[in-house]
């Protein structure tokens, strides 16, 4: 077994086990912390895939901002933190079954594709993914429109969230 594969398996185990705890853990703070672990595993995967920028952004944005916001929200709605009652719906087995079915379907579809077992070619010399990403995001022939639209989306989110917060205060 190649070392890369071992790292992949460790990482996949980390992601899946943490993800499982995110959805089953009764204490919501623990669920949010398990989410941090899962997100960290995804960052390692990005590093494994040579996407350096996305790997660090995953940590900065997801762990540094989103997970902290989640922890905050859980602390703010504290009445439910130590809810001793069941955190699942009574009919939790239906989603579980559905999830397994969808997973089986997806796995089937994945293996039905030709060339799915390909391995990655080396990144061509002279291509710096980091600079290429910057170029793609701002050059008119690239993704400048989605890039600017995403900033407007964030502006809209900020305005909306602040507005919701204001109406609550009055």
């Amino acid at each position: 077994m190649h070392p890369d594969q071992i790292i992949f398996f460790l990482c996949a185990a980390l992601i899946l086990i943490s993800a499982l705890f995110v959805v089953i853990s009764r204490n919501l703070i623990h669920a949010a912390l398990w989410l941090v672990a899962a997100l960290f595993g995804v960052a390692v995967l990005f590093a494994l895939l040579n996407a350096n920028f996305l790997a660090v952004v995953q940590v900065v944005v997801y762990i540094g901002a989103i997970a902290i916001l989640f922890l905050f929200a859980v602390m703010l709605t504290r009445k439910d933190i130590r809810d001793r009652g069941p955190q699942m719906r009574r009919s939790w087995w239906i989603p579980a079954l559905l999830g397994l079915l969808i997973l089986a379907g997806l796995v089937y579809l994945i293996f039905a594709q030709p060339g799915i077992d390909r391995t990655a070619a080396a990144i061509p010399a002279g291509v710096d993914p980091l600079r290429a990403l910057g170029k793609a995001l701002v050059s008119p022939g690239g993704y400048v429109l989605p890039f600017e639209v995403s900033s407007i989306l964030l502006l809209a989110a900020l305005v909306g969230a602040v507005y919701v917060a204001i109406t609550k205060k009055s």
């Binding site: 920028f53 660090v56 940590v59 540094g64 902290i68 602390m75 980091l130």
Partner: protein, 418 residues
Amino acid sequence: MSLQDFLADPILFISNWLQGLLVGWKLPSGLATVIVFLIGILALVIFAMLFDIFLVWVERKVVARFQDRLGPNRIGPFGLIQPFADIIKLVIKEDITPDGADKVVYNIAPVLAAVSVIILWAVLPLSSKIFGVDLNVAVLYLVAAGALGTLAIIMAGWSSNNKYALLGAYRMVANMVSYEIPMVVTLLIPTILADTMSLNGITQSQETIWYVFLSPLGMLIFLISSIAELGRSPFDLNEAESEIVAGFHIEYSGMKFGWFYASELLHAFTFGGFVGILFFGGWQVPFLMADGFHFGSFVVALPGIGVILLQAVAFMVKAMIGYWVIMWVKYSMPRIRIDQMLAFNWKFLTPLSLVLLSATAVLTKLLSGFPLWIFGVGMFLSNLLIGWITIEILRFYAHRQRRLEEPLAQPASVAARR
């Protein structure tokens, strides 16, 4: 493989020699690389930890001088052995876990706090040849490490089952997290100027001119926001002794408290180092090139090892100066209120840093064809202009504020005079 090679680049020589030795023992080359890496990392981390112990002494000595005391002076010369006595005391102290604490999270938090600081050393270029790894996203890497530190503090505050600790954690988010914005924005300025995100690359590109001359305002904003990011006074609201006792680490004792303390000191020093790297040329020494000093045509040749050591000394001196400035601020400023702190960040630092970033980007593009001195003068003047406009705006608002408050204040003062 000769003495010549060793003198030219000792680190590379030793790692090549180790690699050769291990491969000679029939180890696969991948495993050999890992072992060589591990040895290098252990050396770096142990150096950082020993230095951390030294920093405890420096901090105690400096704070004593600021407060007109002598500081530790009993154990060893100048009290140098004092930190070791501190460590022994911390290790043999009973470790108390408060009732109702979330035990796992409670125990992970101090380790995470230490890890978030130690991993910064992986990208720290101590010299042109002594560095862990030259990551091409190092600038963001240090922000990512800071995110782990924030998380550690929230975990500590939440899991202690203590009101003060919880308040400390909330304040931490308001504090550390808010000041991350101006910090990230000012990190963009060296990135634009050097056209790279690797810290070694940023240092190398400051061979001709240090960025503090191109962007003095950027340096100031970075320094202020990193002090806030460190949670040091005047921004130490998360552990404000007089308000919330010790904040997030109130329930910690023994070595767990020790790690919070040690990581704070090492963090401060490391950020002093980052200020040095990003704005003061890192390991660059004036006139020192890869083969010795160049004063115009007069050249003093030095072997590679000499240059590397000089660079390392230069870096340590710059980092120490940065650390000293952080301590100086800490021990001379009173703690600010939380509303002042947030207003200072969101209404002053963030808009200012964004304006500065836009100006830097436009000027870099416009002046890129011109000789260096025009570029430098232009950048410097633009910074001066932005600084002057900022001060004028502040003055205008201060005057207005005073006029608004005057009618209220007048009668009282008049009455007092009679």
